[in-house]
Amino acid sequence: MTRWGMVIDLDRCTGCAACEVACKSENNIATVSPEQADLGRTFSWMKVMAQVNGDFPDTTMRFMPRPCMQCDNPPCVKVCPVSATYLGEEGIVGQIYARCIGCRYCANACPYTVKYFNWYAPEWPETARHALNPDVSVRPKGVIEKCTFCHHRLQRAKEEARSDGRELQEEDFQPACAEVCPTTAIVFGDLDNPRHRVHELKQDPRAMRLMEELGTEPKVYYLTPRA
């Protein structure tokens, strides 16, 4: 059975934030004004978090791209009263906006804080409004949204493969962040398929998952920096 997952090599990440931009563009993520951004009201399904170590001038910086962990034991799913968020058959934690009642239980239950609530109707600059991705909905005010591993790409890839009468290959389905990463720090694929790169990478001695002790069983692995 397919289990989509991601391995992010922190040694390779340069913090360029191309993944963040690609994600926002792919998934119709609303922009907010600079004033709203100062209040922390930005949406970042994929967020590159930065950490500064040491004191000037001996400082180093570490970056950690953080998408939804797509947990195998997702705390958000357990608290959703309307099954708007659920664990799909291929391991992707789906978010059905039309079903969401905006109770925000899931946002509070998520230990990774990857769920975003639309307090306001989404806004885009006039020029960007015509460039929205038709495969992704525009979320209305009052619902939760989050990273979906670009599942709309999966639907397309499956259709393409079935139309050609062949099996789905690793390169057929890549989320926007993995596709755009210039240093290939983000690797995506089927964790259970030995032909996919992530299958081997997740067994690397450097591999770890965020807050593993919580038992959420995330499907996003990080390869910790060597030094």
Binding site: G94, I96, S137, S163
Partner: protein, 179 residues
């Protein structure tokens, strides 16, 4: 007069009859449903499906070119109509009007009849080319209609999709169809 009956008993208003109340509620519901039903779709010409599909034996693909290739089946434009109608006008007055319109270079813009909610992803290719569904399964007897219907002939509800997916052992994952 019986003194045990209080004097104001006669002034107690009679309880509304359940039948009248029911009718009022029903009328309200009908009015609300009427107000919120899908608006009628008008077409630039009174296209006769029956004539084209049965008499002329044209395939659906002749006009809906992308039904096997893309999400949207596509609607014919003036070029498609013109490939026949520019050379010769049909017998009916409407057909002659089409020829006149096309000769004058008027663009024909047919309007989509079936519109799915914005949170639904539907691909014609997935259902027609891969799933081998017949058009009539979702579109009803559109191929034999004589005048363009102003509303879809079949109401496509989620239950219809789910029943079919279940019967054909297809994905029931919400994100397979929901955007």
């Amino acid at each position: 007069m019986n003194s045990s009956v209080p004097e104001r008993a006669g002034r107690v208003p009679s309880r509304p009859r359940p039948l009248v109340l029911g009718l009022v509620v029903l009328a309200l519901l009908v009015a609300v449903a009427f107000a919120f039903r899908t608006p009628p779709v008008a077409q630039p010409v009174a296209f006769n499906h029956l004539n084209h599909t049965t008499d002329l034996k044209l395939d659906c693909l002749f006009c809906h070119k992308f039904v096997n290739k893309r999400e949207h089946a596509g609607l014919p434009d003036a070029r498609v109509c013109g490939s026949c109608h520019l050379d010769r006008a049909g017998k009916s007055a409407e057909s002659r009007r089409v020829t006149a319109l096309l000769t004058a270079g008027t663009p024909l813009r047919f309007n989509k009849l079936v519109r799915l909610p914005s949170h639904v992803y539907f691909s014609h290719r997935r259902h027609v080319a891969i799933g081998q569904l017949k058009c009539a399964q979702c579109h009803g007897d559109i191929a034999t209609s004589v005048v363009p219907p102003s509303r879809p002939l079949v109401q496509i509800k989620m239950k219809v999709c789910l029943d079919c997916h279940q019967a054909k052992s297809q994905s029931l994952d919400c994100v397979a169809c929901h955007r």
